[in-house]
């Protein structure tokens, strides 16, 4: 540690001895780091949006079902707990939001067409926090109460069914005895969604209307809970676990939609691989720079050894030089990445390729997401790998014999 100030001073001065080479290397490192962080932010933003969209369709971070419901989502597998009892268990428990709903597969029929859909019987007040539908942007109106008799469908579905606000449609599903349960509803609203596919596949009626149509009393099929962040749902999960009947099945969102959960894990791995790949490209330049820097001062290294500096200090000096180079490059790259991502926080319109994005489950606006953890990961990986990349030239420099190094020509 005693040698650190003198080694750092030497390393810093030697770094700027050849300005041009250092600036070129710094540019390469900065652009590489910028690319690491910027591309990660774009991909994170895309995956983040895909997951949020995916969760918004579920919707809910933690869900409670009858044990067989996820395999057979019919009213036979319902939760026979009434709203009053649920309210007692959850209202004062400190959840960000919770709701109970009826969710079953159904068929919607207009006078012209039929389509298979997911029927959601909801309490609109309780679902506001969960829904992917913005109540205020609905053409016509959204459901107004838990016993509203209207139906709200997506605009795309309305086009398919050739129907509109004010017209009647019929919803059909199965009751607990596997008999046909159907009922006519008047279309009171048409919603739009980020993902056009959602407009085609979801139909909203009130919870009471659904319970009545399906003849299930005050039972529901799903109780859902919202946490603060979809990445950190364990506290919500634990809270639900403490307050729910053990015979029911409690699932995290990524257990309900394993594709989304896997995507999140893959994304973390992808970021690391992306950072390492870019660094490997950078490392050739870094090692070359260090080898050149050592080569052009062999005599000076010999002089330092002759004056009594130990080989370990020479090793340390070259490694510090490499770390300083990387640290400056990282700082510039970080600032550059932050400065280019900030103006894009409002979203990048990629509607030109929206259909292709939709096939991947992503929306047509990309919101870059800069996570500090990704930035830290990029910085730490570059510094650690940079350290190892510097070892070879540093080791070679420390192995010189003073006499041979001092008398080295050229």
């Amino acid at each position: 540690m005693r040698m650190l100030p003198v080694l750092t001073r030497l390393a810093w001065r030697y770094l700027w001895r050849n300005h041009r080479r250092t600036i070129i290397m710094l540019s390469a490192i900065s652009i590489g780091v910028w690319a690491m962080i910027f591309m990660t932010a774009l991909t994170r933003g895309m995956v983040d949006q895909m997951i949020k969209d995916g969760i918004s369709v579920l919707p809910g971070h933690v869900q409670v079902h009858s044990p067989e419901f996820l395999d057979d989502p019919s009213v036979s597998n319902r939760i026979a707990i009434g709203d009053v009892e649920l309210g007692r268990a959850f209202d004062s428990a400190g959840f960000k939001a919770w709701a109970s709903r009826v969710k079953v597969p159904a068929v919607i029929t207009s006078e012209r067409e039929s389509r298979g859909v997911t029927l959601l019987g909801i309490d609109p007040a309780a679902e506001r926090e969960f829904s992917f539908v913005s109540y205020d942007d609905v053409e016509g109106r959204f459901l107004e109460s838990v016993d509203d008799n209207g139906v709200v469908i997506g605009k795309k579905l309305a086009n398919t069914l050739d129907t509109e606000v004010g017209k009647r449609i019929v919803l059909m599903s199965q009751d607990p005895d596997n008999e046909i349960a159907d009922r006519g509803f008047r279309v009171v609203g048409l919603f739009t969604a980020n993902m056009p596919a959602f407009e085609d596949s979801f139909v909203f009626i009130s919870k009471k209307a659904a319970q009545k149509m399906l003849r299930i009393g005050d039972s529901t099929t799903e109780i859902v809970f919202l946490g603060d962040d979809y990445r950190n749902i364990e506290p919500t999960y634990e809270l639900v676990k403490q307050r729910i009947d053990g015979s029911l099945d409690i699932s995290r969102w990524y257990e309900v939609n394993t594709y989304l959960g896997t995507m999140l894990k893959v994304m973390d791995g992808f970021v690391l691989i992306w950072v390492i790949v870019i660094f490997l490209a950078l490392s050739f330049g870094l090692v070359n720079t260090l080898v050149m820097a050592v080569f052009e001062r062999i005599r000076e290294i010999g002089l330092m050894l002759a004056l009594g500096m130990k080989p370990a200090s020479i090793l340390g000096q070259i490694i510090i030089e490499s770390m300083l180079l990387l640290a400056v490059g990282l700082a510039i790259g970080d600032v550059l990445a932050w400065a280019t991502i900030q103006p894009l926080q409002g979203g990048i319109d990629i509607s030109v390729v929206a259909e292709g994005m939709e096939m991947m489950g992503a929306s047509s606006v990309l919101y870059p997401k800069l996570y500090w953890s990704d930035m830290i990961l990029a910085n730490v990986v570059v510094l650690i790998l940079g350290f190892f990349a510097s070892l070879s030239p540093a080791w070679r420099a420390s192995r010189y014999e003073p006499v041979e190094a001092i008398t080295k020509v050229g």
Partner: protein, 230 residues
């Protein structure tokens, strides 16, 4: 007290197909406070002997003793410590670290020794004044003449008052006036601080200052005479 003792040193270099005997059974003893000039034509072995004494080069056979310690069997780390604490070096060329200023170059050895900053500063400024470089403390080697650079190197070699100073052609790049000044400085240090000087040179003016003149030829000591210094 014996400052340097070399016993039967041999060192052979391979140059192409030829073996060159740089040291051929050399033995020499130098007392503390000695002022010795090693003189030889190029390739005569004086630099090799100087390097062996300084622990920079290990002889093929024989023994090297510095202040009672046998150094030819020491580890690299121990040799580095010995050079740092007891030996000052002045080389013919490439003497300074180009990215450091004159003052920083002088402070370098003290910094490696772990001497506190204030003490380093005081000593380096005083020694630079002593070698006639007052006002040039902040200059880098590239901004100084060859003579000024050599004086910085001398200042660095003697600033921590080593017991032994080894100088290889210290006046090679200096004019006669600067050479004389440098040699007078060496003489003064030798007399006042009892510092032992071993100087490899073929400069007749330098030899005049030596108390003892050792002539070498083809790796052997051919003449070893005491003389009255100038």
């Amino acid at each position: 007290m014996t400052a340097v003792r070399c016993v039967d040193l041999c060192k052979t270099y391979r140059q192409g197909d030829q073996d060159i005997k740089a040291l051929d059974h050399v033995s020499i003893e130098i007392e503390q406070g000695g002022f010795v000039c090693l003189s030889a034509p190029s390739g005569g072995g004086k630099t090799t002997l100087l390097n062996a004494i300084g622990g920079l080069d290990i002889p093929d056979s024989g023994e090297v003793w510095i202040a009672g310690q046998r150094i030819d069997e020491m580890s690299k780390g121990a040799l580095a410590d010995l050079r740092l604490s007891s030996i000052g070096f002045v080389f013919q060329a490439y003497n300074l670290i180009p990215v450091l200023t004159a003052q920083e170059n002088v402070e370098f050895v003290m910094q490696v020794q772990g001497i506190p900053a204030a003490e380093r500063r005081d000593k380096s400024l005083a020694i630079l004044d002593e070698v006639g470089l007052k006002g040039l403390e902040g200059r880098r080697p590239a901004e100084m003449s060859g003579g000024q650079q050599q004086r910085v190197a001398v200042a660095r070699a003697i600033v921590s008052r080593p017991a032994l100073v080894l100088a290889d052609e210290p006046t090679a790049n200096l004019d006669s006036k600067t050479s004389d000044e440098l040699m007078k400085l060496f003489t003064e240090l030798n007399e006042h601080h009892n510092t032992t000087f071993v100087i490899a040179t073929h400069d007749q003016r330098v030899m005049r200052y030596a108390k003892r003149l050792v002539r070498m030829l083809d790796g052997r000591i051919v003449d070893d005479i005491e003389q009255d210094a100038a």
